[in-house]
Subunit: 258 residues, 2 copies
């Protein structure tokens, strides 16, 4: 069958000055947003995106995201995000990303993600190979390399220490009434002092989304580390009605010396 679109989508972005940190490099939260946008554009253009799923009461749910960057774009750099479906099984699909400077061709880094699909009424998982007669499978591109490790199972001991908390506010909440996936990245990176970022830069960020948090929830952050370069962070939610802490995300951060 002739596909209407290429398997790999390519979308161009600008590292906007107000999206950069004190070192003039793009903030990881904003990069995460660009990857999610690229995923959204790619799937919408090919007929299995949110625009179509909304009409059949289904939705994509991001389960995991891993980003590993050799370098971060500097303010005003133009970069492209390429994205493609690496594999598609009944209950999850893998989508990868490549981030490239559009002028020099330099590859800044890669991303990996895992998505499930649910029915928005029953909240139950949907067999994503049945959507549009398995259209997603037609777009699987298994040969393009994504030379970073797959997401790890972030294992946490009971030694993780409480390191902060925030209340989910207006700007945190998306159209679904949930804390926006990108906001978790920002809140986790805000746990580290600015001084820390002067010596270190974030090489790899992984996040596993476990349960949704809502407006007014208190998000609590628990952190453990093996050395001064690798950190694991558990985020829990609780609120006035449900005081019990429920795990909402789990992250792994790997830094490198600048």
């Amino acid at each position: 069958m002739e596909l209407e679109h290429s398997k790999i989508g390519r979308y161009e972005f600008l590292a906007e000055p107000f999206h950069c940190d004190f070192s003039n490099r793009l903030l990881m939260g904003h990069l995460g947003n660009h990857l999610l946008n690229a995923a959204d554009f790619h799937s919408n253009d090919r007929g299995f995106g949110m625009h179509y799923l909304n009409t059949i009461n289904k939705t994509w749910v991001l389960s995991r995201l891993a980003i590993e960057m050799e370098q971060m774009p500097v303010a005003y750099d133009r970069f492209a995000v390429e994205t493609w479906v690496e594999s598609a099984k009944r209950y999850f699909t893998r989508r990868n990303f490549m981030v490239q400077n559009t002028k020099t061709g330099q590859v800044y880094g890669y991303g990996r993600s895992i998505w499930a699909m649910i029915d928005t009424e029953t909240r139950q998982p949907v067999n994503l190979l049945e959507v549009r007669d398995g259209l997603l499978e037609d777009y699987v591109e298994a040969d393009k390399p994504c030379p970073i490790d797959k997401e790890s199972r972030v294992k946490m001991s009971n030694e993780a220490q409480p390191v902060g908390s925030v209340i989910a506010r207006y700007n945190d909440i998306d159209i679904n009434g949930h804390v926006n996936s990108v906001k978790y990245i920002e809140h986790v990176l805000d746990l580290f002092p600015l001084e820390f970022y002067r010596d270190k830069r974030l090489l790899r960020f992984e996040i596993a989304y476990v349960a949704e948090a809502h407006y007014g929830d208190e998000l609590r952050f628990y952190c453990e580390t093996d050395d001064d370069l690798t950190y694991r962070v558990r985020i829990t939610r609780s609120n006035a009605e449900v005081a019990e802490e429920i795990e909402t995300c789990r992250c792994m951060l790997r830094f490198t010396d600048r």
Copy 2:
């Protein structure tokens, strides 16, 4: 003289899904970011932007910003920001904005801003009409309408009540080591509960930037209101070394019933 560029710049943006709030409308902070980007592109393209100013140790300083929106773009709307210099005096210039749906032509709203220029070494104001022999004046476009009120002098009584505080963290800090202008907008909007936004929408937002805040500063928010639609917010900064609270911004918010 023939100008190399038109006086009015026009830049297209997308209301990105993760930049929208629970009601699927673009968040004011992200709109503010788009306006500041448009200002930046317009001035850089015409030779009096930050790219040039960096080479002569000068910089633009945003003094005031007012945004008034009849409507906010919905997720995936494509919109254009037009921007132009309304006037240029020795120590400040006025720059206006129009926000328009690119498909329907509908004007969503307008913005106004006031900018000064300083020397980055002495931190003293610079006569901006002397930069590049008054190039800025050549681009003044006094005739294009901007049918919203000019910024008001936000007058606050001593009745303003403390309504919250945040510590300036990694994601708040820009390349200059200051709290990013857009982040103040977000922090102020986070003072209002989500329930409030279900009945009301933000019609006009004004902010006057008074003094810079830095990493680790505690930002405290003081609010007063005449009715349930108009709010004035003072933001102060203080820290371990300087416990005295110094005003950093002053805002006015006008809401309207949805």
